[in-house]
Symmetry: C2
Subunit: 341 residues, 2 copies
């Protein structure tokens, strides 16, 4: 088969790759219904994270199970499944506590921008739907695999509750779905920080009540103005830079909650500043597996439509153009169709 | 009157000071039954925090109300009161949320190592007992004013619950009372990190089930050994250095809780390391006022005896010796008696 490989900064190739095979008895092989490009893929695409060798890409996936290893009990060939970007046995003490993305047997998925994929720990990683869903649900189901699950964790980790005043820092796909998540959790006021008209529009569609275009200290000042000088109850940091992290911490009320869900790049937090900010801070790789059953149900019940973040759809073999479009911010998020390739 | 003033590194003087007077209608003047020296006073005593001018010292206090301003409603002359090191109106939106130490009208107390003290925002800051307590309760009631309240916040902010496995980093008075607090909150296993026999003994008396003497990476490894390789549910950082903070974060299980309650000095947290640690982090100036009614009741009911952390009692005019004893770690914490002076 052919799959996506990063050879160096901005050098994405769709090239020959070995067919995935069952290598451990807990594996499954799936044929992807759809995959996509993540904001986090851009760190290495842009060379901010360097790659030492040609590196297969992709960690968001859903599709049909082709084959399972002999120890797989719950997942069966023919089922439609969604899995997280982090594999999990879903039975260890960390998983039982809801932190499947730090499972004792975790691996990070990294070869999903391809027509077929091996998924380790299939029973613990994958969630199957009752029936094979119709095509119009695919983008939203794919979104649950990471970008929605991550936005949902951002809202959950920042303690969003009915009536909360919430700020979302970052208008990428995760930030936009953090808005949707906060809305689902009952937030009363949701401020999206964005200066891009198309993203502002989608943020409003997902539930944002206010848009703030300022950044840094001016952004903080604007949030203080909107919250009677106090700061927001919950601030969801969905970027991962020093500026966005400090903006998030400073926009939060004392006793309030800050979450951060993108791998921080070059971020260093001053202990004393954090101390006097008096906030709760929680984040890390989103435990998407914890939320998948609920999120899949919300999608199939038609309650949410997170697939709207895909504003560009391409055949998988045009993956390089998908990266370019996101890098140049022409697209929020690119969906890739293996079957069109 | 005479009061305690820091003139420079290790230069504590007990010298003439103006009598405190009511300056705002919400003030109270109290005569101190006892005051004490805080571990945090040592930062400036040692010159790690520099003082630009002679600086009055002390922020822990309890005593008898002498006089109140005309707008004080609930606090009355003759009452015995305890207050927090941070003043609070106890009515603003931050106070109502339980974060009185970030009250919109907060001031930090700083002249309490003296026979008399002006307390701003008396109604919101002070808690009065029903009767004037007998002398044997004074050390423990004084402890509620900061050191116990701060240890209690450490346990609360780190989500200590019945059955929790808890690690306390730091064997100063706050750390020791964090052990006591974790015990009160029902922790099943409490690991005190200490290499001082007298402090280990008090930690065990307060409820520690294990003592770990190693520090840094070796300390982390020891905690992992004690917790089946997983890390503790709750780690209470009661020191404020880079080493202690990293030790705390690395000793915590993914999804677990880290609290920090001493002003961090020279601490910088790496965003990526924190991200993959997957912990909850919360801390700041302890909202002692939130806990005072409960803590005072526990003391007066004889349920806890936090006053045991005072292993040196001196007349107030010997305050300089009190600082020396703590600086040299000859004493855990020094209680000062104005009436013996």
């Amino acid at each position: 088969m052919r799959g996506t490989v990063l050879h160096g900064p901005r050098d994405i190739r769709f090239e020959n790759r070995p067919e995935p095979k069952i290598t451990r008895p807990t594996d499954a092989i799936i044929s992807l219904s759809a995959t996509c490009i993540c904001g986090s893929d851009l760190w290495s695409y842009r060379g901010i994270e360097s790659v030492d060798e040609p590196t297969p890409m992709g960690h968001e996936y859903c599709g049909i199970v082709e084959e399972v290893g002999k120890d797989v009990r719950n997942i069966k060939p023919g089922q439609f499944v969604v899995g997280s970007f982090a594999t999990s046995d879903n039975t260890c003490v960390i998983c039982r506590d809801g932190y499947q993305s730090s499972c004792l047997h975790r691996e990070f998925m990294s070869e999903a921008q391809a027509p077929q994929l091996r998924v380790p720990l299939a029973d613990g990683t994958l969630v199957a739907t009752n029936d094979v869903p119709s095509k119009e649900f695919i983008p939203s189901l794919l979104a649950t695999s990471d970008v929605l699950g991550t936005g949902w964790f951002a809202a959950d980790a920042a303690n969003v509750k009915p009536g909360s005043t919430v700020v979302v820092v970052g208008d990428g796909a995760v930030g936009l779905l953090a808005v949707l998540s906060a809305k689902q959790m009952g937030a009363e006021r949701i401020v999206a920080m964005s200066r891009h008209p198309s993203r502002q529009k989608l943020a409003r569609e997902f539930g944002a009540t206010d848009i703030v275009t300022e950044r840094g200290d001016k952004g903080v000042a604007r949030i203080k103005e909107l919250t009677k000088g106090i700061g927001a109850d919950s601030v969801l940091e969905c970027v991962g830079t020093q500026e966005s992290m400090m903006q998030a911490i400073q926009s939060t009320r004392p006793g309030g909650y800050v979450s951060y869900v993108g791998v921080p790049h070059g971020v260093s937090l001053d202990g004393e500043q954090l101390f006097f900010a008096h906030v709760h801070l929680h984040g890390g790789p989103a435990p998407v597996r914890r939320y998948l059953p609920e999120l899949i149900k919300l999608v199939l019940d038609g309650k949410i439509n997170p697939g709207k973040v895909f504003d560009l759809t391409l055949p998988l073999d045009q993956v390089a153009e998908g990266y370019r479009a996101m890098d140049e911010r022409r697209a929020i998020k690119t969906l890739l169709q293996p079957n069109a390739a």
